[in-house]
């Protein structure tokens, strides 16, 4: 574990950990950059919401989670899915709508699922995942397991009734939920200040009687540190915690969005804080990352992503005869 300052102690393990954080952020970035190409080429369709600029949040929070923990996510969830260990091939195949996709191609970009890894979607109704996270945590508490449930949602969800209902319920019932509010400052095209009378979202969460604080979501080590503190407290029986992860998406809301509502200079200012560029620079400065090492990481990721595309293209499409399969569970024979 590293502190928010980040770079002590200088042990091989700490260095390897930082290298892994970088690799995971790069995986998300390169995966999504490839998605842009494939979308533009017409190979993948539907709504595709990019996480580019926000990678430090998913990677940092995930450090505090175990494979046994539950995750509920949003439609901007490629990053969460990848860091939770859903194979790149399965996520890419889902983008292609193929049966080898992590949701058998039924969900697409917005509905990545992996029940085995306790990744409960890809929810494309803003705020729609919050009640699920409360229920997953309630079940865990009733059954006496040690899992926590991490629930990701955006700042836009804080305007939905579910935000208030669920924060209240989780606090009232003392449930092990880690609320991760990814505040990227926009609800699609509506700026935070134009949507919320009180823009301090952590303050609003705290009013429900849970510990909540804002975090620099552009710094992976700050996110990791905050998530570890929160997760530790939750596991110790401290009830729900809330992190307001202040971040920014560099790309438009979705591939459909002409991005007319943001000042270009604002985007440029945030790009100067690119979580990957800044982290890479710091690793280089302290001599933990050489050009060769970075090139090697990039090369492996590129190969992995290319392989996933090749496999997805070759994978079978679901037969139309299976269209209504899974509307209901199969009847046991």
């Amino acid at each position: 574990m590293t502190g928010p300052g980040g770079f002590a102690p200088e042990t091989p393990a700490a260095a390897a950990h930082r290298s892994e954080l970088l690799r995971e952020m790069l995986l998300i970035r390169r995966f999504e950059e490839k998605c842009v190409e494939l979308y533009s080429a017409g190979e993948i369709r539907g709504f595709v919401h990019l996480y580019i600029g926000e990678e430090a949040v998913a990677v940092g929070v995930n450090q505090a989670l175990t494979p046994e923990d539950n995750v509920v996510s949003t439609y901007r969830e490629h990053g969460h899915a990848l860091v939770r260990g859903i194979p790149v091939e399965a996520v890419m195949a889902e983008m292609y709508g193929k049966t080898t996709g992590c949701s058998r191609g039924r969900g697409g970009s917005m509905h990545l699922f992996d029940a085995g890894r306790r990744f409960y979607g890809g929810n494309a109704i803003v705020g729609g995942g919050l009640p699920l996270s409360v229920g997953l945590a309630l079940a865990g508490k009733m059954r006496g397991d040690q899992r926590i449930t991490a629930c990701f949602f955006g700042a836009g969800a804080a305007a939905e009734g579910e935000f208030h209902e669920c924060l209240n319920l989780a606090a009232l019932w003392d449930l092990p939920v880690l609320f991760c509010c990814e505040n990227n400052r926009y609800a699609m095209g509506t700026a935070l200040e134009r949507e919320h009378a009180q823009t301090d979202l952590a303050l609003r969460a705290a009013s429900y009687g849970m510990t909540a604080w804002p975090v620099d979501g552009m710094d992976v080590l700050s996110v990791e540190n905050a998530a570890r503190r929160a997760a530790e407290a939750i596991r110790a029986g401290g009830g729900p915690h809330f992190l307001e992860l202040r971040t920014y998406r560099f790309r438009a809301h979705s591939m459909y969005d002409p991005d007319r509502y943001r000042d270009k200079a604002e985007v440029a200012r945030w790009r100067e804080r690119d979580p990957i560029v800044v982290f890479t620079t710091r690793l280089r400065e302290i001599g933990e990352l050489s050009d060769d090492e970075l090139a090697s990481i990039e090369e492996k990721l590129a190969a992995q992503i290319e392989e996933s595309i090749t496999a997805a293209r070759a994978a079978p499409a679901e037969p139309v005869t299976d269209l209504t399969k899974f509307v209901y569970s199969p009847v046991p024979s």
Partner: protein, 355 residues
Amino acid sequence: MSTHVTPDRSRAKRAGGAARAGRGTRAMTDEPVKTSYREAMRAALREALQRDDRVFLMGEDVGRYGGCFGVSLGLLEEFGPERIRDTPLSESAFVGAGIGAAMAGMRPIVEIMTVNFSLLALDQIMNNAATLLHMSGGQCNVPLVIRMTTGAGRQVAAQHSHSLEGWYTHIPGIKVLAPATLEDARGMLWPALQDPDPVLIFEHGSLYNTQGTLAADAAPLDITTAAIRRAGADVTLITYGGTLGKALAAAGDLASDGIDAEVIDLRTLRPLDDATFLGSVSKTHRVVIVDEGWRSGSLSAEISARITEQAFYELDAPVERVCSAEVPMPYPAHLEEATLPQVTGIVAAAQRAVA
């Protein structure tokens, strides 16, 4: 809490693979016991809570208050606040929490006070409960039961009286039940809990005080078929839930008029048991559908369409429908009565059909 389902394989199976269980009822003899719809439902809840420790009941005022309609009275004392769980007035949150808990292996029963309030949770029911299995490619089934009151007849006006179960029957991915009898109030919950997918149970508010007798060993019942509540040869009355009693009363009146009506209780509104009502129509060749929902876009419209699609040449008369007037429910008794399907209207419709 450990997960443990009490097997009950030693006893005879009645229907739908569900095992018999008389443990929820108090009587120990084979004599029929006097009971009410409310008590039958409570006995079903008690049985479920006793047999499967994954089952818990959650909703507004289900605990200390004893349930808005008194259905869960006494269960808090018997099973404790973890399993008889009062919630805040947050329909979306607690219905969604039921979905999440079901995905995590529990068997929640969520109670919503009335169908009108369920609209505050419609997003969770439609976009999550009904959708998750298919959207996840078969990974995330939702074994959730949602109970709610529906229907009018108690002068509670335009935000507590409607019959919106027909809307829910539009949605693939959920099942919709409407217990109209004491037997069904007692026997539909357990099989609903055994279903791996979400099941909505609509309890007509006018039924809770219905008195009657129930076999001491009343057991879980099949939840896939409609029931013929009265056999007849001249005209088929198709209904469910709160209007079953009115249809049976109409059949009695028709009998004194020399018209022999068959009364079908749909019981399960989705998926519909087409075979039972089509079989009846093929016998009587005349049909009246009685539905407390509004006529336009209703369940009665769906049934009428299925009859014309699948039994058109069996019909000797146009399909008749008796539905609620298309108004928000008014408060005064005479206007409420005028809004709802009534026995006289059903009789008149049947007479037109056989004319």
